[in-house]
Symmetry: C2
Subunit: 462 residues, 2 copies
Amino acid sequence: MSHISPLDYARENRERFLDELKELLRIPSISTLSEHREDMERAARFLRDRLSAIGFEAETIAGHGHPLVYGQWLNAPGRPTVLLYGHYDVQPVDPIDLWQTPPFEPDVRDDNIYARGAADDKGQTMTFLHAAESLLHGEGRLPLNLKIIIEGEEECGGAAIKAYVSEHGGRLAADVVQVADSGMYAPGIPTIETGLRGIVYTEIHAQGASHDLHSGLYGGVGPNPLNALAWVIADLKDRKGHIAIPGFYDDVQRPADDVLASWRKLPFDLDAYRAQVGARDLVGMQEFSPLERTWSRPTLDVHGISGGFTGEGAKTVIPAEATAKVSMRLVPDQRAEKVFELFRNRVLELTPPGIDLRVRLIHGDDPVLVPERGPFIDAARQALQQTFGRPAVLARSGGSIPIVGVFKETLGLNTVLMGWGLPDDNLHAPNEKFSLENFYLGIDATVRFWQAVGALAEQGAT
Amino acid sequence: MSHISPLDYARENRERFLDELKELLRIPSISTLSEHREDMERAARFLRDRLSAIGFEAETIAGHGHPLVYGQWLNAPGRPTVLLYGHYDVQPVDPIDLWQTPPFEPDVRDDNIYARGAADDKGQTMTFLHAAESLLHGEGRLPLNLKIIIEGEEECGGAAIKAYVSEHGGRLAADVVQVADSGMYAPGIPTIETGLRGIVYTEIHAQGASHDLHSGLYGGVGPNPLNALAWVIADLKDRKGHIAIPGFYDDVQRPADDVLASWRKLPFDLDAYRAQVGARDLVGMQEFSPLERTWSRPTLDVHGISGGFTGEGAKTVIPAEATAKVSMRLVPDQRAEKVFELFRNRVLELTPPGIDLRVRLIHGDDPVLVPERGPFIDAARQALQQTFGRPAVLARSGGSIPIVGVFKETLGLNTVLMGWGLPDDNLHAPNEKFSLENFYLGIDATVRFWQAVGALAEQGAT
């Protein structure tokens, strides 16, 4: 078997790698919608089969909601073991009419691939498989041991993987976790993320009358659950972004001064950032910088309100019930369980006349911080420097990757969070995309990172 | 041709009358949804054909939105002419899963007929046709002249009939209008309505960012149009029911003392009323009685809020845009045009940071009062007393029948509003019904009313 450099192998196989990604992107694996259950299984089988094909022992694991995919290659005794994490489920696609091309028909335009899940997280997950194949098929072996677990519920709470990790922690034992479900601070700036916000995602259900009412006949005496939700939601956060839930801010820790100083040194162009958000004005608490607001301050957002009539034209209904989806993003040291209790109590206190409110937790995850120093972070910095030709920055993300906290608490493992997404990738929105340049650079950086981690054993550094 | 009493004819034909109503109820003539355009035309043709069959000159009139149906029988020279009004369009049916039987498959249970439009207004409109048939086929003639106009846009603003009335007023010349699109104060209590609230139905559109945002990445800086609508809506009406729009109450007239005194004499059981509303507590301004609140006080209700994600599970989206449907009910002497301006200005003043608001009028109609005395009202009282065996009460309705104001302003005609609906008919809601007893009593009362009006000519009273 003739050997070629893994990076050369990766370059020569770019087109096939892209075809494989497209094949995965064509599967509409929306985890939150039950009609896609069969698609979830198809996506899991696809990944298992690809892992087997490149030389991993691989299986799908049913039994906890959507299947998990697990694979391992453990033929490097004495070398470190990295546990890889990705997810194959994607967000819903509505509003569908705003997509320029159908969300599950991947389309390459301007050196980007457009599809739901392109960046979050199918494209990034596939960089693991392509990097491993490049090493295995290029050199015939990996420079370290790899375990990989890919879940199908990242977008809907992640119950299955949490249960699996707590029940089968031994099988997942490793030296460090690597997650490619994050992004780069800006195009061309390789990034290691050191903090993630947590989340509490809730539903407030408002019940008014026992049946829908005609607003002519009963408007003025009949309780309106939509007006009620407006009062409650308006009272939870003011127009300046302050969240009016007693105790909510008690555990919020401001980042250390040197961390804040490092953020101030990051290149930041307010106009460009506003353009990226697509908003004339940035909202929220103006006493904090935009990066602080999204990285280290909690927030509260409404995601949708159902009930009543939203079709074209007019219907003069006072609906019997209405529901709002409301989430909060949490920062260290807030805890999801405690915040949900504070939230629920406050909502119930705000109950308007004639209305019954119920508050339900859909999912909750704690925020997480990862150490900014250590041999694995150093290996990642080295790989990123070599691949991108400039030093990596340490940043945080306002998003949540709940499993990072679970790996820390259950397995005692820190995580290296380096990802290839860009701020304008339209995650969770129409026209999600993934940069093809970053796709290929991500494969290269991952190859280099594993080579550097493998070399740590010889240095005795792990 | 052997003559029989019109009331006997009506009794003998009850089953066929019910079958005809069912045939009309099977047509899903939802005016506000454009996919039902063909159903609208079918319903109009059905009514035209029935009018022709019983001896009217009849036609459908296209050209102004959904077709109008017009019919006339003018062979009683020297007798008064009554202009009849009804509508064949119905409200949408959502939430469809709360219907016990499908909304367009009429089902008779417990002496009620259940279907969308049963009471509002197909069942009531058909009483005109059945009363006219009973007189024409029973006695061979009508005791007066009748014109009838039936519109297909009552539930969506009524543009077509308003245009027709203003362009073809002469053709509709009459002595009085009769509308059967109202209800009885309570079961067994025949009712003449003397006041109707007006309406201003609006849409508030909130635009945040130019594209949907991920609440993790941008929560805290990205403007959220759903939170924005909550702030705006919460500020438009407080929890006690007071509408916080400057100038809104300026033109509101409290009813005269004798009118309020007559309302206090109406039988009113608060517990029964609460049960009818289906609410534990009645809301609104407690300094006014429930009847005052619904008959003579304005109100503001949200009917639906679209935007973002309302499916099962969780989607962490900050939508780019969201829309709320908000209506106000108006009372004498408020004017729709003025109130809309006040509303729009207030909404724009309330614009939250980072958000652009647009306010659109969907339709507006002024409130209306009709005189409580006169020969036609007396004829109606006499017919109701004979039919129901007890005196009619004078009441108002919180609902709007915009055309009543148009007939007054454009044709100078007052309206006799007597209808056969009941408070628990579930208008605009799932499981709409119409009492079969009231259907048949309504036919009888209409026959007697026309006989009494015909007799007015001989008394020289018109």
